[in-house]
Symmetry: C2
Subunit: 230 residues, 2 copies
DNA sequence: TGATAAATTGACCAATTGGTCAGGATTAAT
DNA sequence: ATTAATCCTGACCAATTGGTCAATTTATCA
C-alpha cells in the first residue's frame, strides 16, 4: 500500500542521504538514551547531539519510541554477533579466556551500548523481555550445555555452568555500566584507562579459570616457613 | 530565620504525622525512581504510588530534586552501615563468605535501593560523585589493605584485592539490578525465587574462595579412568 | 531542462510536567 | 474552648514535551 519507497532491491543507492542521516541520528540517540534512559531522553536533546533540527528526527524515525526500538535492536544484534560459537571440541581454558576478553573489548569500546541495555534491564526490560526469554535464553542453554559436556569429559571441574556465564557477564559489564564508580575509587579522574581494562581482564580470567580448575593457584607467601625450615 | 519547626530536641513527638508520611513518600519514591530514573519519574507517579495527592509530596519535600537526594542519601547510609568492619585478625574464608551473604541479602530484600543506585551510576553519578571518590574510596582502600595483609601473612593466595572487591559487588548486585534478565533466562516467570538467590550465593562464594585459594577444587569427573583402572 | 521524489525546517499545538498557593480541615497545647 | 501550628488539597500556571504540517529547498533522473 504505502508507496513511499518502491521495493527496489537492485539499487538501494537511492537512499544515500537517508542512510547517512539515520546513522548519525542513531549514534546520537545511543548516547542520549544511555545517559538519560528512555523517558528521560528528549527528542530535542537527541537532535542537538546529532546537530540536526528536531523535526528531522521525526522525519526519519517517526516517534521517539520507534527510534528507541531501533537503537535497542541494533544493540541486541551487536550482542549476539559478538558471541563466538563454541563447540565441545574446544579447549575450555582458552575458550573462556577468549570470551572474557571479547566481552571486555565491548565494555571498553561500546560502553554506551552496554548502558542503554542496562537501563532497559533495570526498568524491568519492558521492551525486550521476549528477546530475553527467547533468543538469549536459548543461547545460554546452548553454551551451558557445552560447558556441562566439558565437565562430564573431565576437562574442567564441576561448576554451575549457568551461573558461571551470568557472573562472567556481571564482572565484564560492570566495567562499562558502572565505570564511573570504579574510576572514582581508583582515583582515575579522567575515566578508566586502557590499563585499567587490562588489569581487570586479567583478574576476571584468573577468577573464572581458577574456579573451573583450569589455572593453578599461585603459591601463598611465607610458605617458606612451612616447606623448608632452614 | 525559618521558624517552621522550632529546634525542640527534647520532644520530637510533635512531628508524628510528618514522620509517617515522609516515610510513606520515601518508600514510594524509591520504587518509582528505581523504575524510571530521576528524569523519567514524575511527582504525580510518586504521589499515586504513595496514595497521596501530588501537592502533599511538595508540602513535605519541596522539589523533586530534594526528594531524590533524600532517597539516595538514605541508600548510601544503608550501603555503608551494611559493611561489617573487619580486621587483620579475622579468618579470610569466613569473612569473605559472610560479606557475600550480606550483600546478597541486600540484593534480595532491597532490590529497589540497589536499582536507584545503579541508575545513578549509569548516568555518570552526577549527584553522588563526591561520595564515590570520598567515603567509598576510603572504605575500599581500608578493606583492600586488610586483604593485602592476609596475603602477606600467607593466609590466602595473592590476588588483586581491589578488583576482588569490585567483582564481588558486580556479581552480587547483578542479582538485584538485572534480576529480570536472570529470571527470564532461568524460566522463572514470577521473578527470582529464594532458591535462586541461595544457589547464586553459593556459586559466588565458591568462585571467590577458590580464587583466593581458600576452598579446594572438587575433583574432576572421569578421574576414575586415571586413578583406578579396574 | 523539466518534473517528480526526497529532504529540510520554522512555526505551531495539545498534553504533560514540576511547582505554587489560598483557604479549609486536623491536631496539639493552654 | 481558644488559639496556634500543622496538615491537606483542588485549582491553577508557566515551561517543557512529543509530535505535526505546510512551505521551501535540494537531489534524482528521464
Amino acid at each position: 500500500m504505502s508507496t513511499s519507497n518502491e521495493e527496489n532491491n537492485d539499487q538501494p543507492i537511492q537512499g544515500r542521504i537517508r542512510k547517512e542521516n539515520e546513522l548519525r541520528i542513531l549514534k546520537a540517540a545511543e548516547k542520549v538514551f544511555a545517559d538519560n534512559g528512555f523517558r528521560g531522553s528528549t527528542t530535542a536533546a537527541i537532535a542537538e547531539e546529532a546537530g540536526l533540527p528536531k523535526a528531522n528526527i521525526h522525519y526519519y524515525f517517526g516517534t521517539k519510541a520507534e527510534l528507541y526500538r531501533t537503537v535497542v535492536d541494533d544493540i541486541v544484534k551487536l550482542w549476539l554477533s559478538s558471541f563466538r560459537e563454541i563447540t565441545m571440541e574446544d579447549d575450555p581454558a582458552s575458550t573462556l579466556a577468549d570470551y572474557i576478553r571479547a566481552k571486555m573489548e565491548l565494555s571498553k569500546n561500546r560502553p554506551e551500548a552496554s548502558r542503554v541495555f542496562a537501563n532497559e534491564l533495570i526498568r524491568g526490560a519492558p521492551r525486550i523481555k521476549p528477546y530475553l526469554s527467547g533468543e538469549l535464553k536459548e543461547w545460554v542453554e546452548r553454551k551451558s550445555k557445552i560447558l556441562d559436556t566439558w565437565i562430564e569429559q573431565g576437562k574442567m571441574a564441576p561448576v554451575d555452568s549457568t551461573r558461571l556465564i551470568f557472573h562472567i557477564w556481571a564482572m565484564t559489564q560492570t566495567w562499562a555500566d558502572f565505570g564511573v564508580q570504579w574510576s572514582a575509587i581508583l582515583g582515575e579522574d579522567d575515566g578508566l584507562t586502557e590499563e585499567n581494562f587490562d588489569t581487570a581482564t586479567d583478574a576476571i580470567i584468573s577468577t573464572v579459570l581458577r574456579n573451573c580448575g583450569l589455572m593453578p593457584l599461585p603459591p601463598r607467601k611465607t610458605d617458606r616457613s612451612i616447606m623448608s625450615s632452614d
